[in-house]
Each structure stands twice: as C-alpha cells, then as structure tokens.
Amino acid sequence: MDLVLVNLIDGLVTGLLLFMLSSGLTLIFSMMGVLNFAHASFYMLGAYFAYQISKSVGFWPGLLIAPLIVGVLGALVERYGLRRVHKYGHVPELIFTFGLALLIEEIVQFFWGRAQVPFLAPEALNFALFSISGNAIPAYKVFMIFISMAIFIGLLLVLTKSRVGLIIQAALSHPQTVETLGHNVPLIFMGVFGVGTALAGVAGVIAGPVLGTFPGMAIVLGSIVFVTIVVGGLGSLWGALVASLLIGWVTTFAASYNVGMMDVLTGLGFTPPEDLSESLFRDIWSLTLPQVGPILPYLLMVMVLVFRPYGLFGKRDV
C-alpha cells in the first residue's frame, strides 16, 4: 500500500511534467494546425539555459530567466521560420519542425558536449520532506508538483478570464472565424507559440536536475509528449491533462512492479517449456512488466488511434 502511495506521487510528478509540455503543444496545434516536433527541444533548451545561468547566479534566477529566453526564441522561430513554411502546407511545416529538432540537438551538443551536464537541484530543496515507510520523498519533487499546479491554474485563469484567453479559446474551435473578426491572428500565433515554448522551457528547468540534462533528453520525452496529446485528443486541454497523468502513472507503476509473464502464464494454466533457452517463445515467457513499461504509451496510442481516432477527449478531426 505504501509503495502505491510513493508511485502515485512519482507518477503525478511525471504526469504534471508531461502536461507542462503537452498543454503548450496542444495549444499551438489547435490554433495553428502545426504539430511542433521541436517542442521537446525547447524543453531541452530550458534545461541547458538554466544550467548555464545556475553556474553564475544560481538556480532561482534561472527558473525565471531561462523560460523567458526560450519563449523569445520560440516566438522568433515562429516569426521567421514557421510563418515562411506555412504557405507550403502542414506537411512541410511538420518536416520543418522535425529538422529544427535535429538542428537544436546538434547545436546543444556543439555548445555543451555530448555528455550529461551536472545540473543539480538547489541546495535549499535538497532534503527529504517526509518519508513513507522508508521511502524518502525529496522536497524537490513536492516543489515540482507545486510549480506545475501553479502553472496549470495560471493557464486556466488566463484562458477563462482574460480577453486574450477568450480569443484563444475561440481560435481553438473556430480558427478561421477569429481572423474574420479582425483580431491580429499572426500576432496571437506568435504569442501562443512563444508562451507554449516558454512553458516547455519551465518544464525543462525543473526536470533537468531530476531526469538529467543531456542532448538526448528531447528525444526521450518528445515522442511521449506526442503520444500524450494524441491519446488525450488533439486540441483538448483537458484531454492533455488526463492523458499526461494517465501516462505518468502507467509508466511509473509498470516500472516498479516486477510482474513476470512467467507468473501470468502459469497462473493461466500454461506450463513453461522444459528448456527455456531453446524455445521459440522464450521472450514471451521471460517478459516482465518493467521491460514493457517504456512501450506502453505507444501501445496505448496505437490502440486509441485504431479504436477512437479522435483521442479520449478530442472533438475535432485533424
């Protein structure tokens, strides 16, 4: 039972982190129709910028400044890159962001090298806040949960209470109409892209010390973020939240319960082959849950797309 609680907390941290990326990605997708392949690359840039800043002035200024720089970079990419490619259609846009993701990874390697950089959590949060039957819960994890929650609530308030938020909401469901109402849609696009990438930057800053700051971090998380928004339903913020938490928990629980296929199959009444190493099906017999864990999100996505192409909460077709 205690392990369940620990896993719940860990899964919540992963899920909220995913949500910080998927919320921005889904906002950008809903408004502009662009699935930004480079979204996780901005998350990576957030981590590296914060690391660079933390070397001279510490973690806390980095938490503020790094996402700002990332957001400005994102807005510039939209203004001078995406907008240029936009006229060729959605597929070239997707190809552009894919190329951008490759390029950003190379640039990061150029400046910071291929190895992981020692980006650490601030001293002030480097203690165990409480422990559940011997499993210490670091204060930093709780801090991550609070930051993500705060950002989520802030986003919700902006979207539902402010004028810009209302325009964005309208653009989510009726992108063409908003333009005919005379709003400066290109500017809104640039803004949303900037804010979305800045959110990814925040996620990078707070995840860097925990998940590691290395050139592959974008690829590792990037595909999962895609899976998240597809599972949740493209264009749905609630869907993104639910799918983020779902995937966060599924992967966390899968990683910590060592259930083997051997047990499942014998439990079902099958007898294991005499000599396992010679059997053609040995991989099925030796399969364990933690082994399958990393592919579960993809399996989930394929299932969702086959049986419910709109995603769990999606309404709009792509």
Binding site: I95, G99, L102, E106, D283, Y298, V302, L305, V318
Partner: protein, 429 residues
C-alpha cells in the same frame, strides 16, 4: 478531333519508345561501368550504400511525394525486411533451406509487404498529421520491441549472418564486394523501374489525386483510404527489398536499423533530393551519401551541417534539388541560361563562400573549446590555422561577412535576371 492531334498525342500516350527507355538504358550502363572507374573497395562500399539508400528513398517517396503521407517510422519496414533476410541467411548456413543469394531481397520485400499490410490497415485511414503520428508510434513501438523480442531482433547486439552460403550463381559465391555491388545494382534497376511503373498504373495515378485532393478523389469513385493503403503496401515492399540488400551488404542488423534516427534520415534524404519528382530521391540519396561521407572524414560536426542544410532546404527550396533543376527547364528551353551565369557568379558564389566562412568560424570555435589545452593548431580548408589567433578569427569573420554582404547586394539583380530568363522573347510563345 483532327488527325493532326492524334499524331501529336499518340507517341506520348504509347508505351515503349527509345526516348522513354533512354534514361533507363543509360542508368544501367552507368551502373555497369562505375566499378571500373572507382575500383577500390571503399568506393564500392560507398556505391553499395548509395544504391540501397536510393531504393529506400524511392520507396519512401511513394508515400511522401506520390501519396502525400509523411512517415516518421518507415525504417521499420526496411529493418524488418533486413532482419528477416539475416535469419534466412543463417538458415541457409545451417542447411535448413538453400537458394541463390540474389533471390534473398525478394523475401525481405515480402516480409516488409506483410508488415505494411498489417500496419497500413489502420494507419492509412487518415492522411496528414494522424498518419504521421501513427507512423511515429508504430516505429517507436517496434524499435522498442527490438530489445524485448530477442529471438527475432537479437537484443542489444542485433543479429548477424554470413551471405556466402547460398547456392552459387554462375560460380559466384559473393565473397567479394564487387559481386555484391552487381547484385545490388541489379536490384536497384529492377526496383526503380517497378516503382516508376507503379506510378503509371491506375492506382499510382490515383495516389497523386488523393494527395492533391482526397475529397474530390472520393467523388470520382475511389476510396481515399484504399488508394493510400495500396501505396503504403507497395512502399513497404520496396523498403523491405532495400532491407534485404542491407542485410547482404553488411551481414548485420541492429536496433539502429529500426529507430527514429534512421526514419528521420530517409525523410531528410528524400526531401533534400526533392519530393515532387520521381528522380528527386535518387539525387537526394547520391548527394547525401557523398556529403555525409566527405563531411564525416573532415569534421566532427557533420550532423550539425546536415541539419542546417536540411532546415534551409525546407525553408527556402521546398522542391529540393530536383525542384531546383526543374526550375531551370524553362530558361533552358528559351535559350536564356546565359542570362543567369553572371548573377549566379556574383550572388550565389559569395553566398556559398559566406556559408563556408561561417562553417570555418564554427569549426574554430569548436576547436578552441574542445581541443586539449595548448593545442591551438587545426586544419581548416587545407590550411593550418591557430584557433586562438585573433588574425585567423578576423580573417574568417571578414570572409563570412563579405560573402553574405555581397550575396545580399546581388539578390535583387539575381531576381531580375531570373524573371528575364523566364520570359519568352516578344512574338514567341
């Protein structure tokens, strides 16, 4: 319709003529003599790699260029075909089955086709973003499976085999690279011709129609989904053939043959060559293989340059290299290529020099940061320079700035010349 019309249209509508066969015959001749020009083993290895990449890129373009489907997981079909072929090679070694080696790629193709039929049955329901996402998901899924299903994928170290246990063909046992080259070249010609012919069949034509306007195609009696499905299966088949050739050439397949990086590379190759033309991916594969080989020899940063070139291509030349070539057909026909020579020299040349200057600066920065303490000498464009010398820095930055400045200054002139070169002289049409 007048009889004049008939005589004009009939040859174009007819089948085999010397004019339509000429490029193919020339390509075959070219492939036959290449090993005599570049005889050493490393050159033949590069040409084999090129041929495999061409087949894979052409197969990929059946999706992207012909069918409008962007896949982020097409390496899977090539990889699966390759893995299957390595297993078959091992069975041949065990004596379980025996057949001539040149037939092997066919089985790779069939295996790729089988998987494409399975995956395509749900992934081709939608085009565009949904298709791209499913392809990514399936690709990651199968790449991740490679460490789990050890029986088939061999886990971390992959599976390897020995190609020399097939039934000898005319005494050839494929011990030498050159023999493998001709086997690969044969499959290249065959696959390319078949893929070209596929694009001329009713379903191949409808693939273009569905790409351009899926809804209209439905109102012509075709289900967009099934049209995409057929293209997808055909593409999986030819990707599998490429995989089989890969297995024969390298005798080993690993997780790397399945993952996103490989899928991304083939997208890059195809796009660089140009998706709008059948021959685009061929150019892309040749240029990319050469570029990668040369860059790899000279710099650690080759992937950075490739990435930059790719992004620049998407932004400025969405037609790729084939598109650039095709743009020049009109001026060529008008006999006005001469108009373009001077502006190309005064604009594009400085642009290229500026780009090289920028690359030089990047290399120097990299060297200054990465090289061991005290190691200041580095080779740069056949020169020995010091990465810490202010003079060298000033020179490289000056070249960069001057190059870009000249290019920028010449740009309006180039545009004017381009417009001029594309206008027919008065009184002609």
């Amino acid at each position: 319709m007048t009889s004049l019309d008939h005589t004009r249209t009939r040859p174009a509508a007819g089948g085999l003529s010397l004019a339509t066969l000429a490029p193919w015959l020339m390509a075959a001749l070219f492939l036959a003599v290449m090993p005599f020009i570049f005889a050493d083993n490393s050159a033949i290895t590069i040409m084999n790699q090129m041929a495999i990449t061409i087949i894979f890129a052409l197969a990929y373009n059946m999706l992207l260029g012909q069918g409008g489907m962007l896949s982020f997981g097409h390496a899977v079909y090539m990889g699966l075909g390759g893995f299957m072929c390595v297993h078959i090679m091992n069975w041949m070694e065990d004596g379980a089955i025996s057949m001539p080696l040149p037939l092997l790629p066919l089985f790779g193709g069939l295996f790729g086709l089988g998987f494409a039929m399975l995956i395509g049955s749900f992934s081709t329901r939608k085009a565009g973003t949904v298709f791209a996402m499913i392809s990514l998901g399936v690709g990651e899924l199968i790449a991740a499976c490679s460490v789990i299903v050890v029986v088939f994928f061999g886990g971390e170290e992959g599976v390897s085999g020995d190609r020399t246990y097939g039934i000898p063909v005319l005494g050839v046992e494929f011990l030498h690279q050159i023999e493998v080259y001709y086997l690969t070249a044969f499959w290249l010609m065959l696959s390319a011709a078949l893929m070209y012919l596929f694009s001329r069949t009713p379903v191949g034509r409808m693939a273009n129609a569905v790409r351009d306007n899926p809804e209209r195609a439905e109102f012509l009696g075709y289900s967009q989904r099934w049209v995409r499905y057929y293209s997808f299966c055909a593409s999986g088949f030819f990707a599998g053939i490429a995989g089989g050739l890969f297995a024969i050439n390298y005798e080993i397949l690993t997780e790397e043959n399945l993952n996103l990086a490989t899928s991304g590379t083939i997208l890059l190759v195809t796009f660089l060559g140009g998706v709008g033309f059948f021959f685009g991916p061929i150019i892309g594969a040749i240029v990319f293989t050469l570029l990668a080989t040369v860059l790899k020899l000279h710099t650690e940063l080759w992937q950075l340059y490739v990435g930059a070139i790719f992004v620049a291509t998407v932004m400025f030349f969405p037609g790729g290299l084939a598109g650039l070539l095709a743009m020049h057909v009109a001026p060529w026909r008008l006999g006005k290529m001469g108009v373009l020579v001077k502006p190309y020299l005064t604009t594009l040349l400085p642009g290229v020099i500026g780009g090289l200057g920028l690359a030089g600066a990047t290399e120097m920065l990299f060297h200054a940061r990465e090289a061991a303490e005290g190691d200041e000498a580095m080779g740069l464009f056949f020169m020995e320079v010091s990465s810490h010398s202010p003079v060298a820095w000033a020179a490289v930055l000056a070249v960069t700035a001057a190059g870009f400045w000249l290019a920028r200054r010449g740009a309006p002139g180039l545009k004017a010349a381009w417009d001029e070169a594309n206008t027919a002289p008065r009184g002609r049409r």
